[in-house]
Homo-oligomer: 121 residues x 2
DNA sequence: CCAAAACCTGCAAAGTTGCGCAGGCTTGAA
DNA sequence: TTCAAGCCTGCGCAACTTTGCAGGTTTTGG
């Protein structure tokens, strides 16, 4: 029964794809909706080339989809539930050494789930 | 607010830790309960050295814990919910090209959730 | 048509990971 | 005490990733 092995390989591939802080931030940024490359670059304070490279990787694996309008390329999540699933991992993240309050998980989740990417720089 | 950045880094680190098919299989194998290194090596058909190396990595990040008895080292999951969370990712895995039935997700989940690691070789 | 904006891709340097292998430690049995 | 089982760690090589940079394509505006 090699199926189990195959599944574990595919799962590992998915996780590897997500295992980069830039890409995680991109995905969580796209949770709010469609956004173009330069918009993402500004929001995450990353060079546009890097954003483009990460998006191309995510696109190759169908995690995001592209829509072109004018000279802008707008990206959106193929399956927004993925972003929810990622946030479900926060309880397993060891952040107690860096945030000094107790309810760090709620804090962390709030940082992402709230529509706060626009409310503050 | 660098917190969001920090969280994404920690999350990425966790995902990187899980992004290896051997380690995924180890974690799912330990879902059933404690097991020693050679037991895991036999169950997953992997060289014991490799199993040991993976476990040492998981241990360093507190995903598993060790209990020594005699000359055997028994490992168990620090937080079994992690294994559940991993299985929740199966709907996002692209396995349609390799399993030819339709309900591949149920199939895949059954492969892991059932106590079938012993029922078949 | 021409130029600039917005992206994409190829490439090479630097860093990281995975793997087997050799060697070492600890425990239990003879 | 001596041996072997069971496990761990260090080392080195191969393979992969990340990143900036240079150069390319498409679209819009003049």
């Amino acid at each position: 029964m090699p199926s189990r092995l195959i599944v574990s390989r595919d799962l590992a591939e998915l996780l590897k794809l997500l295992a980069h802080s830039d890409r995680l931030r991109l995905i969580e940024e796209l949770r709010a909706g469609e956004k173009d490359v330069s918009g993402l670059a500004v929001a995450l304070e990353l060079p546009a080339t890097r954003v483009s490279q990460h998006l191309s990787l995510l696109r190759a694996h169908r995690l995001v989809e592209e829509r072109r309008h004018g000279r802008s390329h707008f990206y959106h999540l193929t399956n927004p539930r993925l972003a929810d699933w990622i946030l479900d991992a926060l309880p397993f993240v060891d952040i107690r050494t860096r945030l000094d309050d107790n309810d760090h998980i709620d804090t962390a989740r709030a940082l992402w789930t709230a529509a706060d990417s626009r409310s503050k720089h």
